[in-house]
């Protein structure tokens, strides 16, 4: 439904962690990703016992919860935000504080939901949660990021 936004994401193949964007509004986003059993990190993390690394969980939460959301907020002119998207712009994570509650194994599908705390001066800060298919909480945190080289619309 909102998947055209995935084409705007500056990632591909082994580092694209968004399959579906299922809800998008001025206040938040929800999206899904299924962990591919042949992902590069499972062979080494851990040896003979593949478990999704916390950094990858964090990245999935950031891509759906911040990057998809930021692109939506910046490109939707209804919202009257401070910045608009430029061709050379790319997202930078500025802070995360995440707690992990459950392991995520190869092949599992996770759902990420993000709720906006603020989006001002090009910085987006959100409360982000990840749940598994059993609707159990996998991880929860506060994420913030900025978009580098975004065109700045001072007229507002």
């Amino acid at each position: 439904m909102y998947n055209n936004i995935i084409a705007c994401l500056p990632y591909k193949s082994s580092f694209l962690f968004v399959d579906n964007v299922t809800a998008l509004s001025d206040n938040g986003v929800t999206g899904e990703y299924t962990l591919k059993p042949d992902s590069f990190f499972y062979e080494d993390h851990f040896i003979g016992n593949p478990v999704t690394p916390g950094v990858i969980i964090t990245e999935i939460m950031a891509q759906i919860g911040l990057v998809v959301f930021a692109i939506y907020l910046m490109t939707d002119d209804k919202i009257g935000t401070d910045v608009v998207m430029s061709k050379d712009s790319f997202p930078l994570l500025t802070s995360t504080e995440v707690s992990f509650f459950k392991m995520v194994l190869p092949g599992e599908k996770v759902t990420v939901s993000s709720e906006k705390e603020f989006f001002r001066f090009g910085k987006l800060k959100c409360k982000v949660e990840m749940h598994n298919e059993q609707a159990e909480l996998v991880a929860r945190g506060v994420f913030a990021g900025i978009v580098k080289n975004a065109l700045i619309n001072k007229q507002k």
Partner: protein
């Protein structure tokens, strides 16, 4: 609100964002938020938002861009306070 009062209030706003508490105690109008207080540039946005609620003002993009020295911050806050007064 005079400049000294604004400065005292501003110190409280900055506490969560700097590790350098000694430097924060001795700040002057020439203190640079990023170079001296070692504040993460990404946190300048959070500081502006906190300052808005501390002083009950609204800071626009052009003003925010100028807030890199303590003195600049006081100028902007003082301006906005006068506008709303």
């Amino acid at each position: 609100m005079d400049r000294t009062t604004i400065l005292t209030e501003l110190k409280k706003v900055l506490v969560p964002y700097t590790e350098n508490k000694t430097m924060l105690d001795g700040i002057t109008e020439e203190t640079d938020l990023i170079k001296d207080l070692k504040i993460n540039s990404a946190n300048l946005v959070d500081i502006i938002i906190d300052a808005e609620s501390q002083y009950n003002i609204e800071i626009d993009f052009d003003s925010a861009e100028k807030m890199y020295l303590i003195g600049n911050c006081i100028d902007i806050i003082s301006d906005k306070l006068n506008q709303s007064a």
